[in-house]
């Protein structure tokens, strides 16, 4: 696969991933385009620059691990893994998303895609699993790291804060959490459902290193991941400031596209915008 630090190349990959997301959810006639589009740069930066992994050898023992705890954003993960060239995520089957027999299940399922590190979909659990992986790496004296993407609405789940306490207390500094802070959840705006602010203060109070990148600025994300790697003695959380539905004008900041797929006409318009 083509790993790169080049911003123009990474941006081009991100644009392609966005097109996949629109086409996949359009073909499926269901799914979660908004929260997939908001996490594109985060996943592209991780998979194409930051993470040590080898799509040709998905069980490589020293690979970095990735967990999409906000499993409903499965389309972005599928599209990114497909572009990386994992054998169990073929590009030409992306549009079978959510169809009977497809490897592209509604939420990530490692029974269908063994290259996945975890099966997710029930919110609030991925951070704990990531920290368990981090403990294992530390016990084995290994340098591999674990990355976990959380939804902003997801961190309303109590288990997240159990895990946050645990991660700081046990100094699990090889785990990086990324909150995709797009400020919208299923029923509306986060501030109207269950406000999270002051969010950075909450994580700091729980003992985490906090970095606040622009989640659509790849250079900003690269810098944030570098800071996370340099932080020792405590875990790091990136509060990635993002826009739900990013890249498609009529989806941006529109709560409707949390869990509604674009119509064929909307797919056509979106693909024009993403050309």
């Amino acid at each position: 696969m083509r790993k790169t630090k080049d911003l123009a190349q990474l941006q081009a990959i991100a644009r392609g991933v966005r097109r996949h997301i629109v086409e996949m959810t359009g073909a499926a006639k269901s799914g979660h385009p908004g929260g997939s589009l908001s996490a594109v740069e985060t996943l592209v930066t991780l998979y194409f620059d930051v993470m040590n992994h080898d799509p040709a050898n998905p069980r490589w023992a020293d690979r970095d691990r990735f967990i999409l705890s906000k499993g409903h954003a499965a389309p972005v993960l599928y599209a990114v893994m497909a572009e990386c060239g994992y054998a169990d995520t073929p590009v030409d089957q992306l549009n079978t998303l959510r169809k009977l027999g497809s490897v592209y299940q509604g939420h990530p399922d490692r029974r269908f895609i063994p290259s996945l590190e975890a099966s997710t979909g029930s919110l609030g659990q991925g951070l704990s699993v990531a920290i368990g992986m981090g403990l294992a790496a530390r016990l084995d004296g290994k340098a591999w790291r674990t990355y976990v993407v959380l939804g902003d609405g997801e961190i309303q789940e109590g288990q997240i804060w159990e895990a946050a306490m645990f991660g700081a207390f046990h100094k699990v500094d090889n785990v990086v959490a990324i909150v995709d802070y797009n400020r919208i959840q299923l029923d509306g705006f986060v501030k109207d459902i269950m406000e999270l602010e002051p969010l950075a203060d909450k994580w700091r109070a729980f003992g985490w290193q906090v970095v606040e990148p622009d989640g659509h600025d790849i250079a900003s994300l690269q810098k944030a991941f570098a800071e996370a790697a340099a932080t020792k003695g405590k875990p790091t959380v990136l509060i990635a400031h993002t826009i739900k539905g990013k890249g498609v004008s009529f989806m941006e900041n529109n709560p409707k596209f949390h869990g509604v797929a674009p119509t064929p006409a909307e797919v056509e318009q979106a693909l024009k915008e993403l050309a």
């Binding site: 691990r65 997710t120 704990s128 990531a130 016990l139 084995d140 288990q159 207390f169």
Partner: protein
Amino acid sequence: MAAKAKFELKLGPATREAFGATLVELGRENKDIVVVDADLSKSTMTYGFSKEFPERFFTCGIAEANMVAIASGLAAAGKIPFAASFSAFLMTKGFEQLRVTVAYPNFNVKLVGTHSGISIGEDGPSQMSVEDLALACSLPGFTVIAPADGVATSALVRAATAMVGPVFIRTGRVKVPVVYAAGQQFEVGKAIELIEGSDVTLMAHGLMVAESIRAAETLEAEGISARVVDMHTIKPLDREAIHRAAAETGAIVVSEEHLVDGGLGVRVAQAVAELHPCVMEFVGIRNTYAESGTPDGLLDKYGLRAPEVAAAARRALARKK
């Protein structure tokens, strides 16, 4: 076991104590064994492991949901994690995590519930686990074990460690009668016939195995030949042993320190219905929570004793005719 063997049933260790001692031995033998615990290590008996292997013991605080999912991550990365708590908390507060982060990805996590049943005693119903087997058995791919004594616990904890996949092991707080001689062999999924018999079969798990042995002795004095079978593995069931019991004795009594809803009894009944329908009776807790009291007082009051098992056997025999 020899037919008509006499069981002394002397009081031995609690099954949680046997678990704790075995865990330390396993820790010495296998460096991949790690333990997570939710502020109950002195009760679940993982304390000994924590002292000898502090680097492989992770306190989670009072946070069972996180504890189970931490264990999932450890297992995903190749460790053999034991997660221990009171069964009541492990299986209920950790259930969703057991479902999504352990059963669904089929990770190699070993769950040990202690203080199961009502024999925990004075702490009362909030701490008593009477539905844990129903919950554990509902998880696809889970192996579910409820040992009768210390020897069985030690052997079955070892067997669970040797196999790959999620296992729930149910242990208790109180000292229980010794059923097995040291060195008894156990195989996960294979029931053990403790007493031969031809009129009725008494099946049980946990501390009801000893009560069933006592019931069989009472019945023998009445001229009733009762077979006693330790169903230490609740899932997967030993369907062959069930089929034999149904076909050869024509009547089965299942006794357990658990709600009759969703426990071993209904699972055996399903197998009996499929394999060889016969008369059945059930001894267990019926649609209620218990209360505070001494363990013995509670087992007496809630009918989890040899006389109730014997009475159920007589009812079954009467219906069989």
